[in-house]
Assembly symmetry: C2
Homo-oligomer: 485 residues x 2
């Protein structure tokens, strides 16, 4: 019997794949494999009706495929045929992994629950065969050259995903690649969890050196795995890397919806409150956008240290310096940051004296926020910022606007100033974020792309910029606490 | 002496305008006037140095301008010259309205506070002259053909703005026109409030038939107007139309920032809590995006009734039907809506029977949310939606995705279905909203523009769609309560 690591190595890097029943309707699998550059000689389609799908030959039945050992079997048959097909396949072939694509089982009705029970009994007889699903989209692994949509990028990254919803899993990849150009190491949509559990995937990701950030969408436990709750808790406690954890079915009403989605047993709020306290989990609200925003932030932060081959240093405090475009935004930012729990040291006494020596203002403000739109292109802007970012500041947020004339000397000097301040802040292992408001405009788009290209962290709202920082801060504090204990 | 209505009619429709001291640096005023089609023969520039600015002749001094009565004087001189210039002007000319553009007064230092006191004393001597500012951007009035930026649209709308921050005022107009294609009736950035107070503008807007929605950004009261608090409260109680009210300086730290921004006296949280309870105000958090999102929603809702010449009916309850693209999003939506305080009736018993008769599903869900991506293009999709939207539903939210093939019959049928359901929902005076997630994609952009064109309400997040509905609902309930009292 293979150990867990080897089993999952196979799941994410299968050499041979069989799809049964292959048909045009699910050809997104084939398109995904093609796009990733999977060796199509090792992709076997079984179809009772078609001779070819997407130029790939189809075999008439299980008996016709010329191999006896299969790394990954994607099973997509009507639920009424599931048990017989599974029995036949396992009797005839060695299968390492099954992806039950078929939906309409435990999430649908009593009959579906019975089907899952039967699957479980069959799998018990074949301990070398593991399975994900039913009711799931399956695996994305650019290194293993597999994906279930052609739109998933072929480049690899450092994020690991495990989701109990195929569509959220897909949208997580789609939105974060197009919005923030993020890349992933591995992703899996695991559905109703008749066999493989969250805890197993998380344990594997925890030991996977390529992955430095994990995102989870969790709905509940399968009734077939009553011990998974305890086990998951143990694994979560042992996680060495940030885990962004989004839970579906948090409300009573949401729990009844979960039943019809993955047929899972949702768990109570109190239990989760305790889990969040005792593990280094980072809780995410019920929003895929929030999950993506945090992933972007934390992933960029971690990769900065990775590139420098430095140990990760998490923010020591939550004291922000806000540098502004204009006054009104500064008031809103001050309220927003303070309401969310950040601090904004006021510059007074010696600090203010020092700042006034650099630039004696006649209008605007040298307090925090800095309200100095008139001098953003001058060297004093950098000097003031540097002087203000002493040991008392952990986070610098610059709120900026699009420029109509990006060819002007003024803009170029301003942009250079931003780069200089960013480098300075990051050299001190502090966080530098840009807030650039979102609206349809060519110049905004150009500036946004410039900033992303130059590795700036860019958000379109002060609220998200602040919340994402706080998630990172909280994770660092949790790690510290866990280390001490 | 003119009454308040006539005074403000002049502010928003000035026939003659003087700018002193005109210079290249503030030529955005001239560009704004030009763009709006203001009669440039009635725009008088005074400049001691330039002969012409933007092709408009400059007069050397006050003595040189050929008119004695001026509707609007934009005063932009250094603060040290402000008092003498003002005295000279008022001695020599009749001025209806002054816009003190000059900044660096009460928000800056003690000397600035003294300048504002002197202005107040001078204005007391000239009761026919009213003023906004100092430290403000001034007036936007497309019907009056004036604006301070060329980017402000020339078309008029039904929204009235009064802001204590010039930049937020500008960004409110810029962002809401580019994001949601909104239009405005009147807008004014009023700054440090040495003369004209919030209460006066609000009173005027309340009687202005063109305005059906008012947005306010408020920071605090001028120390020169100690009775304004009481007066504003009285006016707010009497408001007949929705007032979206965003307050800067809500936190203690924010209040100290307000002092350096408009030099205003911020007010306590408790007082505002009581005001929100006793007036039909709609409270907005510290975010310009949230203000814009609500404005879009409520303005579209009100204009729907305006177009039909029907009395506005506010939502009776807060029961939502969610129609989905896919399962995972449905769980998140259910949690999100329930956490925010919306209700989602579960379809069971007779209702479920009725629905199953229309379409007996094998997979997905006929409960609420509807999880039926397979049939979105079929007529049953409309029938199911109609059957579910009985008296128990106040709000229908459809979460959708971009389509790669918008030429396909499937898409066309789906889009038609959306239009049919929308019309049905709106014919029952209920609310229909689309959630279309935001990411850079050509097809998403096309679909978004189609939907906006066809008068769909479209948001990029479930959270905002729900929050905006709740604001409308709360306003309706408040109006009801006030009417009863």
């Amino acid at each position: 019997m293979l150990n867990n690591k080897s089993i999952f190595d196979l799941l994410f890097n299968p050499k041979t794949v069989v799809i049964l029943e292959a048909k045009e309707k699910i050809s997104f699998f084939i398109e995904g494999f093609k796009r990733q550059g999977f060796n199509l000689d090792n992709l076997y389609l079984i179809s009772s009706s078609d001779d070819k799908i997407h130029d790939i030959k189809c075999f008439k039945s299980i008996n016709h495929i010329p191999i006896d050992s299969i790394d990954l079997l994607i099973l997509s048959v009507k639920r009424d045929l599931l048990i017989d097909t599974l029995n036949e396949f396992l009797e005839k072939k060695d299968v390492n992994f099954i992806h039950f694509f078929t939906a309409g089982t435990a999430e649908f009705d009593e009959k579906g629950i019975q089907i899952e029970r039967k699957i479980r009994l069959i799998l018990d007889k074949y301990p070398n065969t593991r399975a994900i699903g039913p009711n799931c989209m399956g695996v994305y692994s650019p290194k293993g050259k597999i994906a279930y949509y052609a739109s998933f990028p072929v480049e690899t990254g450092n994020i690991g995903l495990v989701f109990q919803s195929g569509d959220l899993h897909s949208k997580m990849i789609k939105f974060s690649t197009t919005r923030y150009n993020l890349r992933f190491s591995k992703g899996v949509s695991i559905g109703n969890c008749v066999d493989i559990q969250f805890s197993e995937i998380l344990e594997y990701y925890n030991e996977d050196d390529e992955i430095n950030l994990i995102c989870v969408y969790f709905e509940g436990f399968s009734i077939l795995h009553k011990k998974e709750g305890k086990r998951l808790f143990q694994v979560l406690k042992s996680m060495k890397k940030p885990v962004l954890f989004m839970r579906g079915g948090k409300t009573k009403r949401g729990q009844s919806a979960v039943l019809t989605h993955t047929g899972s047993l949702a768990t109570s709020k109190d239990i989760w409150g305790a889990i969040y306290k005792q593990t280094p989990l980072i809780e995410v609200q019920s929003s895929i956008d929030e999950l993506i925003d945090y992933t972007y932030y934390i992933s960029s932060y971690l990769n900065r240290f990775k590139k420098l081959k430095k140990q990760i240093i998490y923010p020591k405090g939550k004291r922000a310096l806000v540098i502004l475009w204009s006054g009104g935004f500064g008031i809103l930012a001050t309220d927003m940051l303070n309401e969310l729990g950040l601090e904004m040291p006021i510059f007074e006494g010696q600090t203010l004296k020092k700042l006034k020596k650099i630039y004696p203002i006649k209008i605007g403000s040298l307090s925090n926020p800095f309200d100095l739109p008139w001098i953003i292109h001058r060297k004093e802007f950098v000097e003031l910022s540097k002087a203000a970012i002493d040991d008392d500041i952990d986070l610098v947020i610059v709120e900026t606007d699009a420029w109509s004339d990006m060819e002007s000397e003024r803009f170029k000097s301003y942009y250079n100033n931003l780069c200089t301040i960013k480098d300075y802040v990051e050299s001190l292992d502090k966080v530098f974020v840009i807030v650039l408001h979102q609206y349809p405009s060519k110049s905004r788009e150009i500036l946004y792309n410039m900033l992303i290209q130059d590795n700036f962290l860019v958000y379109n709202s002060m609220e998200i910029a602040a919340k994402a920082f706080l998630k990172l801060y909280e994770f660092g504090k949790k790690l510290e606490k866990i280390k001490i204990e």
